[in-house]
Amino acid sequence: MALSREDVEHVAWLARLALTEEEIERFREHLSAILEYARMLEEVDISDVSPTATVLPMRNVMRDDEVRPSLPRDVVLANAPDTYEGYFRVQAVLDTEDEEG
């Protein structure tokens, strides 16, 4: 299954990756080959297998609602490229407000 150039550009955009012309073509081939490989799964007879979200046999792994210590803030921010008064600082994001659902 061959991916189109647009497919690659779309996936790159979703991952916020900027690709060169040469990379677009290279990844188009790589991704197409990976999909082709995964296609083998289509040959498996799954008529008597129901879909599942996990292959592990465990269910209902939950914790009690108890507060545990958070990290000290200097540790939280230690690897941040840029900070400001206790915040991570990033380039302005303009396209939407801060509420995502």
Partner: protein, 481 residues
Amino acid sequence: MGQREYEVIIGMEVHAQLLTRSKMFCGCSADYVDAPPNTHVCPVCMALPGALPVINRAAVEATIRVGLALNCEIAPFSVFARKNYFYPDLPKGYQISQYELPLTYNGWVEIEGNDGQPKRVRIRRAHLEEDTGKLVHVNGYSLVDLNRAGVPLLEIVSEADMRSAEEAHRYLLKLRTILRYLGVSTADMEKGAMRCEANLSVRPRGQQTLGTKVEIKNLNSFKAVRDAITYEVKRQIAILEQGGTVEQVTLGWDEHAGRTFVQRTKEEAHDYRYFPEPDLLPLEISREWVESLRATLPELPDAKIQRFMQTYGLSRKEADIIAVEREVAEWYETAVAAYPHPREVYHWLTGEIFRYLNEANIPITAMKVTPDALAELLRLVEDGTINRNTAKSVLQEMLATGQRPRTIVDAKGLAQVSDEAALRAVVDEIIAAHPDEVRRYREGKKGLFGWFMGQVMRATRGKANPATVKKLLSERLEGDG
């Protein structure tokens, strides 16, 4: 409205933070409101490599309780899903949410419809997810605070069953009431604990196909919900009236300008690539678990309203006013238990007391007057110790100081004068001092009776028993003495 009649179709998506102690998938405190930025953060919140989420049982149970209260089915099997998108408020690059197998679905709530009759708004689903971090935009930068990231968030999606801004408003109010009754969320919109989006379309009445749907995001107050929908309905009808077409867009609401604005067009709609969250195991929800949670539900607003109508003889509207907050309903019932005249208690609670609470802007739980103290006050009125006007000022004093009514009445000498002999002397004095008014009254100007009442009350500093005064005045004015 233009020449044609239009129908507006509204669906709502509501997010409510759940009142757990810790976050949805880690042990960080979920109480972030007053915390300095990035102090409730751990490797799970930051999506550090190797960090694994663990489900907070209390959040799952709160969601199931909400599902039950919204008449939903509870999923026997439920799965978390990854919703993938890049945004700085979400360090993982995805939000853990639910997609194909939400915890609860297919429910309804009852609201008052446009025609005044009860109407059901169907609930499509109510599922559990995590809140995102907060962004502050300053000087060309965005500042990221991850304290809110991972706070349990309940998403409640309705069907497009509402037909006016008022119905949408009532639906939201009903949800808030239910969430508060359950004690699972503060549902405080002003503080961001409850947030709301509306889907809305307009079509000429009778048309079968739906109009173009727009989404209005970030409605952060009840007023914003009503104003934004009202504005948007008008805007769309104006476009249709001019023969135009409504564009499918995502809108924001500018509270100051009082208008909607385009936020992002659908062409750029996110491609979320949902898939089952591999870091979490599915939930199997047994009947026993659901039933044990059902047993923890309080009496819900609808049931309470019915009972108040039957037990206390209140109208639906009156019962609704009392039942909208659980604490108010409990206060009322305690007061009625202490002074078994439901209507009288209703009158004082929704009159003087509500006015005070509004002006002082405090909840009933912060009020100094106990139900028992109001009962004592009303007994003082009933046994004639004070009249109703005096009771009003005593109540003001009680609200301000928290003193018992008896204490105030004694300290200020407010006890009513019912003694006929004493009052007769005052009445005689007033009549003797105002021969003109007496003459005009007897010539037919009966409206002056109230004026005479006022004179007597003034002379007794409001303490005279009104019934006695009335009787005495009638005797004197109608007679010839």
